[in-house]
């Protein structure tokens, strides 16, 4: 095959596909054809670059030019200017939020500088639907090495030595999990990849499956060899159609090339993979519920033990790992445990992928070494708080996690430090909040999610969380008492201790951590009926400054509920009983006489 001088990488992840990246790729190709450049320049649809909010992304190689928010109409200019004349299309370059300057290439973007891409190594780099590109990047070399040069025990020892811990939330040591599963004997064992990804806002697993599906197939095969399983199942939510498609294509190609199926690499080891679809309930991501759901039963958790490694799918020993955990496996085998365990902190090795979101300049999917500080993530990768506002908190761990504050900015991020700070790693949600976020409202948001997703099997979670939500609602409406705050603390403790599964056991975390870190704010809501962030609508009071109001009547005429009284040319007043806080009067007053208190 001819060697292409230039490669145009077009993001084919879910976000960019939704904003027409396929059409961009098609137009680029037809423009190249028109110019007779189709044998010199190649267009490739890749997985996600992590910069979805500024998508569609187009990256030119080898010069690393990074174009953002590209439209199909821009294709012609990219070809005529950049590809033919070597002249970058400046208006499509990323603009640095600090310096307001265009950044010429990805290597100079703050967003990428501090990242270390291990699990995402091939995302945004190869064509996920082409097994050849995966193999060109050392794909399937790890499984070949395991099968032909290593014993299952050696594979397990390598993973143990690497220090890899589960990325699905719990952080359980992966090598140890494999060892347990390998020691339970049975006529059939199973390997399950958990691609349920129920955390609101998380999309790392989806991106890995879309951008590098073969790495998961390879890792599951290695897992099968290590524990003595010949069957793999991927439990994936049905709302991920693109990820499902890419996995199906990859599985078909892997079978065709003989790297999945019988007698792999000339050995007597057989392995195959099937997909199982989930309906997208959060609790189905919990491993026992997931297994029940795969068996066609209700997706409800059951008490552990027995652990899946003892009695899992169809009562057989089953090893469940998360997508991102798997994505690390092949490269650990190839580069060695001693390469991997030098990255990260003492007890958390390697990297973690986070979905960085919230009031921050650069949002997106990032992969950083364990031990990086929140400050580096927020101010260097994230480019700082939007609009130059003040940082207030960062939520990690989603509905099972908590909030970190200013005082945690320089804490190295790893499993143990996050737990010590009252939060957790979770699956990698990271929401940055500024002074306009109300911490009581945030706690309420996550609790609403938990209540919605509780399977209802046990009462602490089903009833207790409802009660806590009622109390939070009362507080945000300005009707809370100090006794409510005490009750909240007590309830949270009881639920944590008595709920059956991880969902209920961790559901009080967002409340407990905000109670600890933002106690003053709770008290303010209760005693002063005040929300300093101005987020709790019920606590807002619209007031007309009597010394500024000229009595023009504009506000009164526009108030939808006639809450404003006053004679013409005399100061007006707002009847707070009637006011529905719609904000119309503020907009209408030309004299800035109305404010929110």
């Amino acid at each position: 095959m001819a060697k292409f001088k230039m490669h145009i990488l077009v993001c084919g992840g879910t976000g960019c596909t939704a904003s027409k990246s396929q059409e961009i790729a098609d137009r680029l190709k037809s423009n190249l054809l028109e110019k007779g450049l189709e044998n010199e320049v190649q267009v490739i649809l890749t997985g996600c670059f992590g910069f979805c909010e500024k998508g569609p992304i187009v990256k030119i190689m080898p010069d690393n030019t990074f174009y953002t928010e590209v439209k199909p109409e821009d294709a012609q200019e990219i070809i005529e200017e950049h590809i033919i004349k070597g002249r970058k299309v400046t208006r499509l370059l990323y603009t640095d939020p600090d310096k307001k300057e265009h950044v010429a290439d990805a290597k100079h973007m703050g967003f990428y500088k501090k990242q270390l891409r291990i699990a995402l190594r091939n995302c945004g780099f190869i064509d996920p639907e082409n097994i050849g590109e995966y193999i060109a990047c050392d794909g399937y070399a790890a499984v070949a090495k395991c099968l032909t040069e290593m014993t299952p025990e050696q594979v397990i020892n390598e993973i143990k030595l690497s220090g890899l811990r589960g990325r699905g939330g719990g952080g359980f040591p992966t090598g140890m999990k494999w060892e347990i599963a390998s020691k339970n004997h049975a006529d059939q064992k199973y390997v399950v990849c958990n691609a349920d990804e129920g955390d609101p806002g998380a999309f790392m697993d989806r991106s890995i499956l879309e951008g590098d599906p073969h790495s998961i197939i390879e890792a599951m095969t290695i897992n099968g060899y290590a524990i003595g399983a010949t069957k793999g199942l991927v439990y994936i939510r049905a709302e991920y159609p693109l990820a499902i498609h890419r996995l199906q294509v990859a599985i078909a190609q892997a079978r065709e090339y003989g790297v999945l199926g019988n007698n792999l690499f000339g050995t007597d080891f057989n392995f195959d993979i099937e997909l199982r679809y989930g309906a997208g309930a959060f609790v189905c991501g919990e491993e026992t519920a997931l297994i029940h759901s795969m068996e066609g039963k209700r997706g409800e958790p059951t008490f552990k033990p027995p652990f899946p490694a003892q009695s899992g799918y169809l009562q057989k020993p089953t090893n469940v790992n998360n997508v991102e955990t798997y994505a690390n496996i092949p490269i650990i085998i190839l580069k060695g445990a001693n390469w991997f365990n030098k990255i990260g902190t003492e007890k958390s090795k390697g990297t973690k992928v986070f979905a960085l979101a919230g009031q921050i300049n650069n949002v997106g999917l990032i992969e950083v070494p364990m031990g990086i500080t929140l400050r580096e993530v927020i101010y260097e990768i994230g480019g700082g708080i939007k609009g130059g506002r003040q940082f207030k908190a960062v939520q990690t761990g989603g509905p099972s996690g908590g909030c970190l504050t200013e005082k945690h900015l320089d804490t190295p991020i790893d499993y143990d430090n996050l737990i010590a700070a009252g939060s957790m790693m979770g699956s990698g949600g990271m929401v940055v909040m500024d002074e306009t976020s109300c911490m009581v409202a945030i706690a309420k948001f996550y609790l609403e999610f938990t209540c919605e997703e509780s399977c209802g099997k046990c009462s602490p979670c089903r009833i207790g969380n409802k009660r806590m939500l009622e109390i939070l609602d009362k507080i945000t409406k300005g009707n809370g008492t100090m006794e409510d705050l005490e009750n909240l603390k007590n309830l949270a403790g009881v639920i944590k201790d008595t709920a059956l599964c991880g969902l209920g056991q961790t559901s009080p975390n967002p409340i407990l951590s905000t109670l600890t870190n933002f106690w003053d704010e709770y008290v303010e809501h209760v005693q002063d009926k005040k929300c300093r962030a101005g987020a709790c609508k019920s606590l807002m009071r619209y007031v007309i400054d009597q010394s500024v109001c000229v009595g023009c009547t504009a506000c009164a005429r526009n108030c939808p509920v006639n809450a404003i009284q006053g004679e013409k040319k005399t100061p007006h007043t707002i009847n707070l009983e009637l006011c529905i806080k719609c904000g119309t009067c503020i907009e209408k007053c030309k004299f800035n006489a109305i404010s929110i208190q």
């Binding site: 190689m61 004349k85 070597g86 780099f125 190869i126 060109a136 070949a144 003989g258």
Partner: protein, 112 residues
């Protein structure tokens, strides 16, 4: 496609497809010598395109760890084709009136 049935099969298949991603791999690598050929209007008419192609050809032939790409005009119309050689952590060096002999010279000196 013949099936991959051994480590050797995998390696030979890898070697057959490795070239496909070479341009990307080099682009991603840090610390490589970068050669930028100016392709502005006058550069192209002065033969920059054939110089760019010749660079690529030679780098491939000699298997050098060098990235070659096109760039915008350098504002030196009278010396086209111009080429910038960017060495890792050093000031770039600019060459004017580059012809094939000069390409060989540049690669001899800076290519690795």
């Amino acid at each position: 496609m013949a099936q991959i049935k051994s480590l050797k099969d995998l390696e030979s298949f890898k070697n057959s497809v490795k070239e496909q991603i070479d341009t990307r791999v080099k682009g991603n690598q840090d610390g490589l010598v970068q050669i930028k050929v100016a392709m502005a209007t006058c550069g192209i008419s002065a033969g920059a395109k054939s110089i760019y192609n010749y660079f690529l050809e030679k780098v491939d032939e000699k298997k050098l760890d060098v990235v070659v790409y096109q760039t915008d005009c350098m504002g030196r119309c009278n010396e086209e084709p111009t080429v910038e050689v960017a060495l890792p952590n050093q000031e770039s060096i600019i060459f004017g009136n580059v012809d094939k002999a000069k390409v060989d010279e540049i690669l001899e000196k800076y290519g690795k």
